[in-house]
């Protein structure tokens, strides 16, 4: 065990990160920032997996592996997202999410 740091702290941190991420996604106007918010969410997930694995099920590695894959996929996702953001920028000449509402109702 990591001395002195009970599991709750980690969990609290991850949860806070998760909700910060959500909040960020909902509030920030800039597409890139939204992307970062998503990264926050995914990382909170990673922390969860790793911590659970480390603290509760130390005799196996499933959580760790999961975290690694999540990181990888997040990267892929981010790359595609950024590509599309650039695409948007070409069209709208800005990356403010508020302007991305041509399709509605």
């Amino acid at each position: 065990m990591i001395e002195g740091i009970p599991i709750q702290h980690f969990l609290i941190v991850s949860t806070i990160m998760f909700f910060i991420g959500i909040a960020g996604f909902i509030m920030r106007r800039n597409l890139i920032t939204i992307l970062m918010a998503i990264e926050l969410i995914l990382n909170s997930v990673n922390i969860n997996f790793v911590i659970f694995n480390r603290y509760l099920y130390p005799d196996q590695l499933q959580g760790h592996f999961f975290a690694i894959f999540v990181v990888g996929i997040a990267a892929a996702e981010a790359s595609v997202a950024i590509a599309l953001i650039i695409n948007i920028y070409r069209k709208l000449k800005n990356i403010d999410v508020e302007n991305v509402n041509e399709l509605r109702y």
Binding site: I26, V97, N101
Partner: protein, 635 residues
Amino acid sequence: MYNYTILIPLIPLVIFLVTGLLGMKWKPIISGLLGTTGLGISWVLSVMTAITYFFGSHHEGAFETIIPFEKLWLTFSETLQIKMGVLLDPISVMMLVVVTTISFMVHIYSLGYMHGEKGFQRFYAFLSLFTFSMLGLVIATNIFQMYIFWELVGVSSFLLIGFYYQKPSAVAASKKAFIVTRFADFGFLIGILILSFITKTFDFAKLTNPDGAVFANAAGMSFMGISVMTWAMVLVFMGGAGKSAMFPLHIWLPDAMEGPTPVSALIHAATMVVAGVYLVARLFVVYHFQAPDALEIIAYVGGFTSLFAAVIAITQHDIKRVLAFSTLSQLGYMMLSLGVSGYGGEEGLGYMASMFHLFTHAMFKALLFLAAGSIIHAVHSNYMYEMGGLRKYLPITHITFLIACLTIAGVPPLSGFFSKDEILVAAFNHNKILFGVEFLVAGLTAFYMFRLYFNIFWGKDRHYHHTPHESPLTMTIPLMFLAFASIFSGFLPFHSMVTSDKMHFDTHLHLAVAVPSVLIGLIGIAFAWLLYKKESKVPEKLAKQFGILYTATYNKFYIDEIYLFVTKKIIFNYISRPVAWFDRHIVDAFMVGIGTVTEKISYRIKGMQSGQLQHYAFMFVAGVLILALVLVYYI
């Protein structure tokens, strides 16, 4: 031995079908002759039946009821079945004779009267249809067969009244006749239903069995405090009242005069209108033993109607209407005399008298109508103030008409005297008030008939646009025949033929009743002679004297108006219109409303799909929370 009787109704039916389907192809006269000959045959047959039945086999005691033919037509349940059959007993045999005779006469008469009319074939087809239905009604073996033909009679009368279908008044009259009688038939139907519920049978044989076994479980059954049998029989009588135009269901009969005159003679004087009387007579046993109260009601309805109609008849100008009201009044006589009758022997005098009067009345009333027809044929008008001094133009019509008037006025020894006398006696024995009424009515009858007579044949003649001439033989022969009948039919021994218990009993003249009644008849005639023999201002003066009363009477006491108000105003405006409105604006609107509301909602919520990514994200999270709440709620 009576198997051939089935032919009596079938012949007219066949003729109806043939003429109805192919008639348009032929020369008119062919269908006329066909119909007449056919009817002639059934007439001969029914007369044969009558003779063999009444005088043929020399029978002891009661006339037995014979059912020479019966066939199952429809099964409701094991016990309730409709059969089509022929039932022969005194009244039905007598009715056979009446119906075929009058119908035959009318057929002959119409050859001349309807000559050259458009739709001649149609007329004869309808005549045959009517005759068939009426005969079917007469020989019905069970109450439901009677109801079936009852309806058919109604519809054929509807068709014949509306014969001139392009004349709005005729159409209206036919409609009125049908709907009023239909309303009455509704009562009849309910009556039948109640009877069938109690007795589980339709057969007259069972119903009219004096021991009343089938009514066993009616005992103690009552609805709204009145015994169920009274209900049933009153409702049945309602049907009869409708057909026989008893007050207050009489309104259709005067208007029915819109039809061709032969039709009025056949249907609305001699045959169909007595169907009600026939019905009551047919079920007399039931009335007498199961529902005496109903019989009481019948007596009073009949009495009132006869008085009421007689009063109106005095004031009418349209000669056919006068005759119509006189018919009403005479029907009232018959009903009353059934109402006051008892069962068996001397007691059953009323019953016998009623049937007797039915017979004689058929003869002379048909005669009156046909004569009136011949008059109208001559002067092309219905109104007596356009007539006068016709006696020199229409000798035969004049004589026959006079005979008829004397007959109905009850002058001896003409048939009307005998039958009316019996009725008066019956009334006298049973109920003094009713006797008084009828006595008065006798006078009134004599008066208005002779008012009519003098107005038409005496007085100074109007200048007609072409001089009236006597009608052709086809029309005068029936007149003479019927005149003959109305003179002598009074001598038929009805008391030994048509009686309540089918047994012979002796009758004798009650001078105490006969003499005054003849006298009042003569008085009535005298008054008429004074007032109308010569042209005079007296009638107008009298009319002035009575003023409001006169106008009220002239307008038939505004009964029609009341009906009109009820139907047109109440039913149309205050029931059916609101119903239609309710259906459109409440029920339907509700169903449509569901749709519109849904559509409205869909427009309301369209804001959710704002196109803003972040709103979506927010909704997403909100959804997660909702689901969480759901779980919290369930766990």
